[in-house]
């Protein structure tokens, strides 16, 4: 059953990509949105919506990282840091930790702002770096942030993290144990993220990002303030991640440093590479496919193996599996499953 959701969503996104007409595209997305909105009326399986909400959180993350890496061409390997900042913001301000119980909705907003500010703080020292060097420094930041959360035991609960986070409530009604309200929140946030991402792409800022990605020096000669434009990419990208972090923390009702390790950053980058960097439908598909593998296929493979008397945990092999998927993509379709026209031609030319 859960497969059906993923397959339908992936199919619709692919179909939307194939359509040239912008309005038709929008209608298709709206139909998918409507179907997803109605789904809980017919399907009462909480576990399904838990997986779908997780998938949505990763779609948000992929859309955010796509702004930094796909649009602006800044390879960020520490993106999970902002996810962690969003999650810890919720954990510290809506839990018994400091006896603060700020509302979920306010914290969504605050965490997005926090993450954006940290995006700027962590982005600023990297402005002069490109390519490999940028990747290494961001990788470092991605390691440092969870490490800091781990070591500031007094405030963050150290390696154990913070638990018993508040349940969000909506007009006085608590979300309670159900995952369906989170699912709705995630859908709404994705709609918002899509609106922003498409607007950004087709705007002055989006064009400036494209220009610095293509040729930073020439962009500067056109009067583009590359510092401001890059910082905007870091800030906006991080803010999506901050939102995702809040929902993630609230749904789990727990945060701990090991949830935001390097592998999370790698996973999100892999989603972009797999789906098609820079292309919004592409990165959505990339996120859905990897969540499907990670959260559905691997656990099921475990169950099947266990029933056959084998004791393997396929979860332990997930890096091997991403690796295999990525190598396959690089060999057979380096532009990703669903690339933009730009990226397709780029790689086509590079090969020629």
């Amino acid at each position: 059953m859960i497969y059906l959701y993923f397959l339908v969503a992936i199919a619709v996104v692919i179909a939307a990509q194939r359509l040239n007409d912008l309005r038709a595209k929008r209608v298709l997305f709206l139909l998918l949105g409507a179907a997803l909105l109605c789904a809980p009326l017919f399907d009462r399986n909480d576990a399904t919506f838990n997986v779908l909400a997780d998938a949505g959180i990763f779609v948000l993350l992929a859309l955010g990282l796509n702004i930094v890496v796909g649009f602006a061409g800044l390879l960020d390997l520490g993106y999970a840091a902002f996810f962690a900042i969003g999650a810890y913001a919720y954990a510290m301000m809506a839990s018994p930790q400091f006896n603060l119980h700020l509302p979920f909705w306010l914290l969504l907003f605050l965490a997005a702002a926090f993450a954006a500010i940290f995006g700027i703080i962590l982005g600023a020292p990297t402005l002069r770096l490109r390519g490999d060097y940028l990747a290494i420094v961001t990788l470092g930041f991605g390691e440092i942030v969870p490490q800091i959360f781990q070591n500031l035991t007094k405030y963050t609960g150290g390696p154990n993290g913070i638990g018993a986070l508040d349940f969000p409530s909506f007009f006085g009604r608590s979300f309670g144990q159900s995952t369906i309200p989170y699912y709705y929140v995630v859908l709404a946030l994705i709609a918002l993220a899509l609106f922003f991402a498409y607007n950004l792409r087709d705007s002055r800022l989006g064009r400036a990002w494209m220009a610095i990605r293509e040729d930073e020096l020439a962009a500067r000669h056109m009067g583009i303030n590359t510092t401001a434009v890059k910082l905007a990419a870091f800030a906006l990208g991080a803010s999506f991640s901050g939102l995702a972090g809040v929902v993630f923390a609230a749904k789990l009702s727990l945060v701990s440093p090991d949830l935001f390790q390097f592998q999370v950053s790698v996973l999100i980058v892999s989603m972009l590479v797999l789906g098609g960097m820079g292309n919004i439908p592409g990165v959505i598909v990339g996120a859905l496919v990897l969540v499907l593998v990670n959260n559905v296929v691997l656990p099921q493979a475990n169950t099947i193996a266990a029933s056959a008397g084998l004791h393997v945990d396929f979860g332990n092999y997930h890096f091997f599996i991403y690796g295999a998927i990525l190598v396959g993509i690089m060999l057979f379709r380096p532009e990703g499953l669903l690339p933009s026209r730009q990226r397709k031609e780029e790689l086509h030319h590079a090969a020629a």
């Binding site: 922003f196 607007n199 705007s203 800022l205 220009a211 020096l217 500067r220 056109m222 009067g223 730009q342």
Partner: protein, 252 residues
């Protein structure tokens, strides 16, 4: 309009530009010529802010601009093209031109994020201007083609169009005719003249003597980073130092 005073640029031991003073009059078409490695492109790179001069001062309309960041120099009204074309390869021709307009657009972050009415209006007007510029440089038919996929001569013209989009007062052209056939060179000469008609001062580097002599009001000759002559085309053509250093007998 543009004034260089005692500008020197060293790369380690090498003195690429040596104590160069230069004055470009507003409304003129001026040229810098000289043998390969004479330091011509380095002069452009200093003026446009890629390099800081090792010594000397640069004034643009009475403002001292050496040390300014590149984007600020561009916004002040100096645009350029590159010897080895640097277009945004995988952006449509029209998007290249629109990127050139960036400094004149007012859309803020919120406008880009929300597509406010003001952003829509501005974008529409900018697109209209970009089309006009493409028409001006003779590329109206290929607005949606990726820069990378244009023929070489068109890429050179697109680079000029992109530079014009930033509404420069001074346009620096680094070997705009390189790789062009005679017909294209003729069209380029007309284009340069038309640009001046628009009130834009032009400073160009060029190896094609026919073109230089035809379009320039004023020529400066560099050799080993030093100015060895300057003057009207006729004076340059008959200057013995120039002939000895660079032109040989071909032009005389």
């Amino acid at each position: 309009m543009l004034r260089l005073e005692g500008v020197t640029k060293r790369f380690g031991e090498l003195v690429a530009v040596n104590d160069l003073s230069l004055n470009v009059a507003a409304g003129s078409i001026s040229a810098i010529i000289g043998p390969n490695g004479a330091g011509k492109s380095t002069v452009f790179n200093i003026v446009s802010g890629i390099y800081r001069p090792s010594a000397g001062e640069i004034f643009f309309e009475d403002a001292r601009i050496d040390g300014w960041p590149t984007h600020r120099i561009a916004a002040a009204g100096i645009a350029r093209t590159f010897q080895n074309i640097r277009l945004f390869s995988f952006m449509a021709a029209i998007d290249n031109v629109l990127a050139g307009e960036d400094a004149h657009l007012h859309a803020r972050l919120w406008d880009s994020l929300l597509h406010t009415p003001r952003q829509r209006r501005e974008e529409k007007a900018a697109r209209e201007r970009a089309r006009e510029l493409l028409r001006f440089v003779g590329l109206e038919g290929v607005a949606e083609t990726y820069a990378r996929n244009l023929p070489y001569g068109s890429q050179r013209r697109l680079e000029i169009g992109r530079a014009l989009a930033s509404r420069p007062k001074l346009l620096l052209l680094d070997e705009p005719a390189a790789g062009m056939n005679p017909r294209e060179k003729g069209e380029l000469a007309d284009l340069v003249a038309a640009i001046r008609e628009r009130g834009i001062t032009v400073l160009l580097i060029e190896h094609d003597m026919g073109l230089v002599m035809r379009v320039s009001d004023e020529i400066t000759v560099l050799d080993y980073g030093q100015r060895i002559a300057s003057g009207k085309p006729a004076e340059i053509r008959s200057n013995p130092r120039v002939i000895a250093a660079y032109l040989g007998t071909a032009v005389a």
